[in-house]
Symmetry: C2
Subunit: 222 residues, 2 copies
């Protein structure tokens, strides 16, 4: 948790600091990201950081918190019950995710790279924790779909949950792989990852849904 000193700062300075570190941590793994470089870039003293935060990890966790909170405002209200089947719901999550990205590019990019940048040995436990949480979330979704008879039940929940999680991740990675989006350049130029690419994203989402739907949906004759 940030110290009181940081919270007392006026918003513009808080934003200056937050944004600068979001940028750093969005580009480099935790262990490689350098506080020294960032403070030089924004022209504040190294010592100040330690008036604001306990240590590097404290700062990092603060950023995670900020971004998660923001994103939740965009997708927190989306509920499964408002959609006829899981895939409409799944699709909606992406649609509102784009909105989050367009309006909060830096935060979006930070979250985008989060899992990747957590691969540093010194915070391995955090990675494990977050992955576990994500996977558990998808497992819950699958469990529900199986319960209401929309998803097949001949495959272990864990397998379906994990695969679904992977599908979610793969869509974004696909767009990077095939040069539709370029997070690195987006961060440099400070433009939203999906700016002008919402259509292409949703088309890809649809392709993936079309592809994996038969894997999850219960066959009509079962």
């Amino acid at each position: 948790m940030p110290k009181q000193t940081f919270l007392n700062l006026d918003e513009s300075k808080r934003k200056l600091i937050t944004d600068a570190f979001l940028r750093e941590f969005a580009t480099k793994p935790f262990d490689v990201a350098s506080l020294t470089v960032v403070v030089k870039k924004i022209g504040i003293a190294k010592g100040s950081i330690y008036q604001y935060f306990e240590d590097k990890l404290d700062l990092f966790l603060y950023l995670v918190g900020v971004c998660s909170t923001t994103k939740f405002k965009y997708i927190g209200h989306i509920e499964r019950k408002d959609y006829p089947d899981f895939w409409f719901y799944f699709r909606a999550l992406y649609e509102h995710g784009v909105q989050f990205d367009l309006e909060n590019p830096l935060q979006s990019q930070f979250l985008f790279q989060l899992m990747e940048n957590l691969h540093s040995p010194s915070i391995k436990h955090l990675y494990q924790e977050m992955l576990e949480q994500s996977v558990a979330g998808f497992e819950e979704m699958v469990k529900h779909e199986v319960a209401i008879g929309l998803f097949r039940k001949d495959i272990p929940i864990q397998v379906m949950g994990f695969m679904l999680y992977k599908v979610g991740v793969s869509i974004q990675e696909h767009l990077i792989q095939f040069r539709v989006i370029n997070p690195k350049i987006s961060i440099e130029k400070n433009i939203p990852i999906y700016k002008g690419k919402k259509d292409k994203l949703m088309l890809t989402v649809d392709h993936y849904i079309q592809l994996v739907k038969p894997s999850f949906d219960k066959k009509s004759n079962q």
Copy 2:
């Protein structure tokens, strides 16, 4: 490429060095792995490393080469044409992959963590390159299956190829996630990742095949 000096070394010393660095790079990202630590551990001078290799990257690439060559001996002879459908072929790759692991634990573990440990900024290009190659390989497979009418053709090849690649990766990650295997501990104790777990691995492979088969296979009425 290693320098001649390294190649002149007698095998036992070469193996000592190779194994020690495989261990280091199997545990830590490229940028975090420390040559200094390794040379201390095996009791040779830091300078010696630079008599053997150009630099850290040269050493790393040597390790990649060694492991790839070994693994190829195990799965290079497996050909699609020897199997009735893609999924038997896919399954066979895993089966022989286990054999490679059991007989070359260290190399297996190094390759296992390779993609993950390539996330270091200083070798981002290498990551990109290898990913590209892997994905291209899976795309070729898909293309072939579509051509012979076994895979559906209503989804872009790129999407199917990338998804298939992800399925391959996901199986291993699944086993970590659900504590069936534990590469980190295996490396510490120097035992094969899949020792005594071949059955569980193949069961999981079968689950994933069973799950994703309907996504890829052409429907009989199409």
